[in-house]
């Protein structure tokens, strides 16, 4: 999997760059984030959880069966919302209370 960064949304805060465990994200001369090595993304979603303007989304590569959906997270207090945009325009959402443990 890899990530896609929406250049127009990015406000250049640099948080995604700071957090990436592979140092894969850079800021260009206009202070817009881009992924320097898309093939090197581990898919940990750390950058996505940091972005204050939800400019980063992740997708599965076609080689591992990806079908074009894009995922991002939004935080509301203790709730982490996982939002999945499908290519057909439908949107699904899973809400996770961060104060709640996994059941399994």
């Amino acid at each position: 999997m890899s990530i896609a960064i929406d250049r127009d949304k990015c406000i250049g805060c640099g948080k995604c760059h700071d957090v990436c465990p592979g140092t894969l994200i850079r800021l260009d001369d206009a202070r817009r984030a881009y992924i320097r090595y898309p093939r090197d993304c581990w898919g940990c979603t750390s950058c996505i959880k940091e972005c204050p303007v939800y400019a980063i989304r992740f997708y599965l590569g076609a080689d591992i069966g990806g079908m074009g959906s894009l995922v991002h997270t939004e935080r509301e207090g203790d709730i982490l919302r996982w939002i999945i945009d499908s290519p057909d325009g439908s949107v699904s959402e899973i809400r996770i209370d961060q104060k709640e443990s996994n059941k399994y």
Binding site: V19, R39, W42, G43, G61, A62, N102
Partner: protein, 559 residues
């Protein structure tokens, strides 16, 4: 390159699970100065980046630390260090409580006790486990964290560590860090073998592709004794997403079934390696693909699984959603990963004593980089971080001094500057990395050969890996991050050589798939109930066979 010199009491290489906990322990017990060098940023670096699903090592009500030791020993067919496992197991519950104090959410039962998942696991929300550890470390006044500093080597004279060298992978600064003691906590090694999906998703692997075996390579190069590299770790994972399967197997009790719907796990046995082996065999005999049987689970279980995976391996949840079917509607296809070297799952790594001291004076190892104690997982890595830290505090009382000579600084600096110099290389670092992975895949028991190998193949692998190392001498880097990639490739090649030597040394098959030697397909307890250790002497790997440290005894470094 600009040089920055730092002097500290303790250097911790790798600000991951074990490294962070070691720093916290030193700060609690002394006023010593600590520097952590982390190649990424401690907030989300290493294994814990995406979060973890459960604490896999915990002594639940009614069980004892010795029970945990017995479980690990059985899973590894005896080749473990019981003294290391016991000292670790005794700390598991205390470090868990500390995690809860830091803010980790742990599920409790009606009596306020941690709710168990099976005999050894407890349930958590582990999404933010690394940020919690990182904030605790960042609050410590005597601990300095240097993020984005990749340590390229340690400095050792007369078998005493003096510190380490590093490069600022964005600043391009060359670091010389002198330290009275060093804790190495760089994790294990991924990327040695060709991965499941070598194309666009090559890094969608289980183990972090950024843990490249640096610590092992540093130990090997400086003649530290290393152990059990032949016990590779191959994970059984969800196909494509390479997401963990434990949540399905232990969480909702999903069984391994073949394409005929037959439960095959009982046929091969239930140890970690047997579960992989069974899957490989079912495929080979024409009964693939294999699955974890989730069809028919309840809607509540579906919902919980979708959430649990988002907390640790979000791509699997995406996979379910994109396919339009939840786990109750389709079994989850499984496959074995490429082999990794991970001392927190199997027993590979530095040969340490119960203080987590390596055979190099002043150098301690903790977590996935340390050998002898498999099934450490998160809590075991924390426990070893603590044990190493306690030993370091004690060691510092001896006031044993150390110094990095100007000669070694210049040699290291020249090497780095040579890679950054003029570009004469025909090959790129990436090409040599792919070549290495292809060699390991074809000749050292990768996915291609169903993890099997023979001596002739290993000889070819060894020759080719040496050739690639020689080729890597003339690689070129345009910037400091590419320079790090050259060092990463070279450390992987060093680790590959040792893995090959160890695979060749053990003349038996003790663990299917993990070390399946077709020249010696049987287990041989008479001759091989032993540790296979090694040490680099004059550029050659010398194999050392050692007797098993039996229950109730403790190994101490002497020769």
């Amino acid at each position: 390159m600009d040089i920055k010199r730092i002097k500290t009491d303790v250097l911790i290489i790798g600000g991951g699970t074990a490294g962070c906990y070691a720093a916290m322990t030193i700060a609690e017990r002394s006023d010593k100065k600590v520097v952590i060098c982390e190649k990424a940023h401690i907030k989300r670096s290493g294994c814990l980046a995406a979060g973890v699903n459960a604490l896999n090592a915990y002594i639940v009500e009614g069980r004892t630390p010795q029970d945990y030791v017995d479980y690990c020993r059985n899973d590894a067919a005896g080749i473990v260090r019981e003294d290391l496992l016991l000292t670790m197991s005794e700390r598991l519950n205390a470090v868990t409580e500390r995690l809860e104090q830091l803010g980790l959410v742990i599920l409790k039962d009606e009596n306020g006790k941690y709710a168990a998942r099976g005999n050894r696991n407890i349930k958590i929300n582990g999404e933010n486990i690394k940020p919690l550890l990182a904030s605790a470390v960042q609050a410590l006044p005597d601990v300095t964290v240097l993020n984005r500093v990749n340590i390229t080597d340690i400095d050792v004279t007369d078998n005493r560590v003096n510190g380490a060298f590093g490069i600022g992978i964005e600043s391009g600064i060359f670091y010389v860090i002198e330290a009275a003691a060093v804790i190495i906590a760089t994790g294990g090694a991924a990327g040695l073998y060709k991965p499941n999906n070598p194309g666009f998703s090559r890094h969608k692997m289980w183990y972090p592709p950024f843990n490249t075996g640096a610590g092992y390579a540093m130990g090997i190069r400086h003649g530290a004794e290393m152990t059990t590299f032949e016990m590779r770790f191959i994970a059984l994972r969800c196909k494509d997403t390479i997401a963990p399967t434990g949540t399905l197997a232990q969480g909702v009790g999903a069984k391994q079934v073949n394409s005929l719907g037959e439960v095959y796990e009982t046929k091969y046995g239930l140890t970690t390696s047997e579960r992989v082996y069974g899957t490989v065999n079912e495929n080979q005999e024409g009964r693939g693909p294999c699955y974890l049987r989730t069809e028919g689970i309840t809607p509540e279980q579906d919902e919980s699984l979708l959430k649990a995976y988002l907390n640790m391996a979000p791509s699997q949840t995406l996979k379910w959603i994109e396919s339009g079917l939840a786990p109750s509607g389709q079994n989850v296809e499984i496959e074995g990963t490429e082999p990794y070297i991970v001392g927190g799952h199997t027993a590979s790594g530095f040969w340490v004593d119960t203080k987590r001291s390596t055979t190099i004076r002043g150098l301690y190892a903790a977590g996935d980089v340390a050998g002898g104690a498999p099934q450490k997982y998160v809590t075991g890595a924390l426990a070893e971080g603590e044990l190493a830290a306690v030993s370091v505090v004690e060691f510092l009382e001896s006031n044993d001094t150390s110094e990095i000579s100007e000669g070694s600084v210049q040699a290291q600096l020249e090497e780095a500057e040579r890679f950054l110099g003029e570009d004469h290389s025909l090959y790129s670092t990436e090409q040599l990395e792919e070549a290495m992975q292809t060699v390991m895949d074809s000749y050292a028991g990768g996915i291609k050969t169903n993890y099997r190998f023979n001596e002739k193949q290993l000889d070819i692998a060894d020759r080719k890996i040496r050739q690639l190392y020689a080729l890597s001498d003339s690689l070129h880097a345009d910037d400091p991050q590419e320079l790090m990639y050259i060092y990463e490739l070279r450390e992987r090649l060093v680790v590959c050589r040792s893995v090959i030597a160890h695979l060749k040394a053990r003349h038996e098959t003790r663990w299917h798939s993990f070390a399946e030697n077709l020249d010696y397909p049987e287990r041989d307890d008479k001759n091989w109930y032993k540790y296979v250790n090694s040490r680099l002497e004059n550029g050659e790997i010398k194999i050392i066979l050692r007797d098993i440290t039996e229950r109730g005894t403790v190994y101490e470094h002497s020769d």
